[in-house]
């Protein structure tokens, strides 16, 4: 087995192994490997130590009146006018979003689409005749129609922005975090 740090899935292997969720076969490989590799053994021991330390943080019990308070709120909503429930669902959807994120995502997506249109429009206006000639030439050569311009997949753009936000958030970590440990 390769060293964890050299393994493409090393991060996942390390976390799964220390969490006790690794595939038994993989776990056995790691057991054997760390017996001979001091560096991996150190990494596994450090991660295992963190895992055990986190176990020390046991939660307090939930308040005994939690349910009754919740049911009271539900009953209160149902007792109100119908429009209030509709309005609540409109302004507070079940899955709230970070308030600023849709604005940034929309702004960036809009900018990309606008740029694409601006780039395409002068070409379309100034070279229509040229394109027709080119297409006719290509069709003449290959006997097939020319390919269409690449379309922007907004869904892919949104997913990429979401991943970027998770991996490298715009919001800053607390000041006492070192630069090396920041995203």
């Amino acid at each position: 087995m390769d060293c964890i740090k050299n393994n493409k899935q090393g991060a996942e292997i390390l976390m799964d192994y220390c969490a006790g969720t690794a595939d038994p076969a993989v776990g056995a490989e790691i057991d054997a490997h760390i017996k001979v590799c001091a560096e991996c053994r150190t990494m596994v021991e450090a991660q295992s130590a963190v895992w055990e330390m986190l176990d020390a943080w046991t939660p307090a019990e939930v308040s005994r009146d939690f349910d009754s308070r919740l049911y009271a709120r539900v009953a209160g909503e149902q007792a109100g006018p119908a429009w209030r429930g509709w309005w609540s669902r409109m302004i507070e959807p079940a899955t709230p979003h970070a308030r600023w994120k849709p604005m940034v995502s929309l702004a960036v997506a809009g900018a990309i689409v606008s740029m694409a249109l601006i780039v395409r429009m002068p070409e379309q206006q100034g070279t229509v005749a040229q394109k027709s000639t080119t297409q006719a030439t290509e069709q003449g050569k290959s006997g097939q129609p020319a390919s269409t311009p690449e379309e922007i997949d907004l869904q892919q753009v949104q997913q990429a922005l979401d991943d970027l936000d998770v991996v490298s958030p715009l919001s800053q970590a607390p000041a006492n975090q070192t630069a090396a440990s920041r995203l």
């Binding site: 330390m53 307090a60 709120r73 899955t95 991943d163 991996v167 919001s171 975090q177 440990s181 995203l183």
Partner: protein, 212 residues
């Protein structure tokens, strides 16, 4: 409207049952229960609440580190689940949906800058911790103090993580969510989750090395 106040009967797991199969069965049960809630079954909502109340409160507690706020946010989570019952569709795992709501509420609360309550909550938690220690008949004051110091360091280390790293670690470590569920809760890809988790644990290894 009245909700029955009853607890879910505790069933012991049969010997030899595959843990993964149990997890899948639990997820399917949650979806089925929520579909019944959609049909107006209040007992099913009570069962879902019984099953997920503590995990949601505990997750939010570790996120915002304020007990009162965590229960308030948790109530908001279940309120939104209840409000959405008529339009619920089992397109994603119920737990994923639940923790997505909880994560976003927690992130919004944190970003709203309501940090002034944290200082109050830290001492409140330490007192509660000490009381639990006494109740558990911990043998010595010194051990209690050492435990509290370690706990404070752990909580500070978690709090120092960027919010989404924090959420990912809490879901991974304490809620046992898999990568796809965490990705669903954070609205990102699995590879992004793995990257985030690795960085978070790397940071924690560095910050907590002196306690090992």
């Amino acid at each position: 409207m009245s909700f029955p106040e009853q607890s879910i009967p505790q069933h012991s797991s049969e010997a030899g049952v595959n843990k993964d199969m149990e997890a899948v069965a639990a997820l399917e049960r949650d979806a089925q229960l929520m579909l019944r809630v959609r049909e107006g079954d209040e007992v099913s909502f009570a069962l879902l609440l019984e099953r997920h109340r503590a995990p949601v409160v505990n997750f939010l507690h570790r996120m915002v580190q304020n007990r009162a706020v965590s229960e308030e946010l948790a109530q908001e989570v279940f309120l939104r689940v209840y409000r959405s019952r008529e339009t619920y569709e089992a397109t994603a795992k119920f737990t994923t949906w639940l923790f997505r709501i909880a994560t976003h509420l927690a992130l919004n609360w944190i970003r709203d800058g309501k940090k002034e309550r944290r200082n109050e909550s830290l001492s409140e938690e330490l007192i509660e911790g000490a009381e639990r220690q006494v109740a558990d008949r911990q043998p010595s004051v010194e051990q209690t103090m050492i435990h509290e110091v370690r706990l404070r360091e752990i909580r500070k280390a978690i709090e120092a993580l960027p919010e989404k790293q924090r959420a990912a670690v809490l879901m991974h470590k304490y809620q046992g969510l898999d990568y796809s569920q965490i990705a669903g809760a954070l609205s990102c890809t699995e590879s992004a989750v793995k990257s985030v988790l690795f960085r978070a644990y790397e940071t924690l290894r560095s910050r907590l090395a002196h306690l090992a």
